[in-house]
Amino acid sequence: MAFYADKDYTEDATVLEAANRVMQGQLGLEWYDAKTEKVKGKPADHKRGLTYTDLDLGSYGFSAIPENVRTSQSMVSRGSEKVGKLPDMGYVVNRKSDVWSDNVAALYEEAKARRWVPATDIPWTELAQKPLAPEMEAACAQIYTFLQECTSVTLDFPSRWVPLINQDFLELKSWMCAQMLDASRLFEVFRKRALYGGSGLKRASVSAEQGLKEWLWADLYPQGSVSINLALGGILLSICRQVAAFAPSNVDHRIMRYAMQDTARQVSYGSGQLRYYVYHRPLEIPAMEQYIEDEEHVILAILGCPEVLEPLIIISGGGLDAAQVRAGRIAVMKFIRLAVQEYLERISAAGLKGHSKRSRLPQVVDRIEGPA
């Protein structure tokens, strides 16, 4: 894989001459009249600052990126003048519709603006002052163990693809970097919470991990994005909302309120990317429909595993006695329905209108009602 320089530059007369010439005052200034567009960007709204949208100007702007990027395979900055022999960085994602979402520049700006710090923004000592009952703490430790598994995967997904995506998609790659930091921060807060309560981590989930790996290792970026950003993001958002609503402590409440912000952004991008893809690649719709249908079993793998289901029942019900478990079951039934319903709504809103009828999820979820 290694790329080595084509020569020893410390002995290359051309390099030494070029450097010496300049350092003796003979400036070539070939760059001085670069054949690039002259622009002077400024903030549209001073309160908001100077955004990428403000610089969506002429050849520099993201609106001008064509569907097929053919003329750039290096790391040259979009809009700068290309000269000389440029290396091929081997990008394999060069179609805008494979990665783009109309909200990506705005989401990047929002991610930066809405950052938070797990170490100091969560009132950790409150948990030490008011510890939870052992079974509740264990349930929290289990759900936070599971959430670490998920955020390890939501960290890996953008990381895998970022170096493979054409550099012209700068705003998209920047958003993916923001996603990486978001995922890392979520992993951090989930780990800190899981350990702080004293119950230790709990058990990894076989079915969830098998499913997560299947989603992570999708062949194509748009497929992976639907799975990781839209589907997994949506499940995580629903879990954050559920745990926040039934939070056994203010610490858990605060964690989940922050976490839902980050995951909702992820979902927004996933929805937007699918929408963009479907709109611009109508011929690919059948294949995408089939992919989504084939991958929905992972939603069940996640929501159905005991490592997720049982702690959610305990947290939602408030404990392990019969009345609490009953209340918890009812709350989790509603949660599963809501999570699946919202997932199907997002798919439909992206342009795959008939998907709810194709999906096998509603029939499985309908079976939740009724006797054991």
């Binding site: 709204d45 309160k47 908001r48 909200n103 705005a106 700006e109 929002e110 930066k112 603006a113 809405r114 950052r115 958002l237 954050c240 909302r241 559920q242 926040a244 609503a245 039934f246 939070a247 203010n250 409440h253 309120r257 922050y258 839902m260 912000q261 995951t263 909702a264 952004r265 979902v267 927004s268 929805s271 937007g272 709350a331 509603k334 809501l338 919202e342 709504e345 997002r346 809103a349």
Partner: protein
């Protein structure tokens, strides 16, 4: 002087309080969303559109009906639920975990979320911290209930 809920005056007071805590809201980050608050009482509904941009509440207005295509989402509920939330905020300085927006709207049983586009719905969660802090400003406002 006490302000009646629901009313544009109430939300305008929250706007004033938000401006007084500009640094706090700036630290939370951009809030770019327009949503509707609908309060039902005695068979009728009063609707308010709140337009947030950058770090501020830009505009508040009362409207006869809510067109879901022109808002990101609508939070709808009966007056007693809204009252309970605001009284909880006044008592505690902020909503407790049983009375915050997420909990009250979660299953749609106390407050309901309506939306035309799921992406608009997701904005409630993208800006949740700011939206909740906004409602928590009720702790600084003298409120009476209609």
């Amino acid at each position: 002087m006490a302000i009646t809920f629901p009313s544009t005056d109430y939300f305008t007071q929250l706007k004033t309080q938000m401006e007084a805590q500009a640094e706090k809201f700036k630290r939370l980050g951009y809030i770019d969303t327009t949503f509707a608050i609908s309060v039902g009482a005695n068979g009728s509904i009063r609707n308010f559109i709140l337009e947030f941009e950058v770090f501020d509440l830009k505009n508040v207005r009362e409207v006869p009906t809510v067109d879901l295509k022109h808002v990101d989402f609508q939070i709808e509920g009966d007056a007693p639920v809204w009252r309970e939330m605001i009284e909880n905020i006044k008592r505690n300085g902020q909503a407790d975990s049983s009375h915050d927006i997420n909990t009250l709207t979660h299953f749609g049983e106390r407050l309901k979320i309506r939306y035309d586009d799921p992406d608009g719905h997701d904005k409630l969660y993208r800006f949740m911290e700011s939206i909740q802090e906004f409602f928590d400003l009720s702790s600084k406002v003298d409120v009476t209930f209609n």
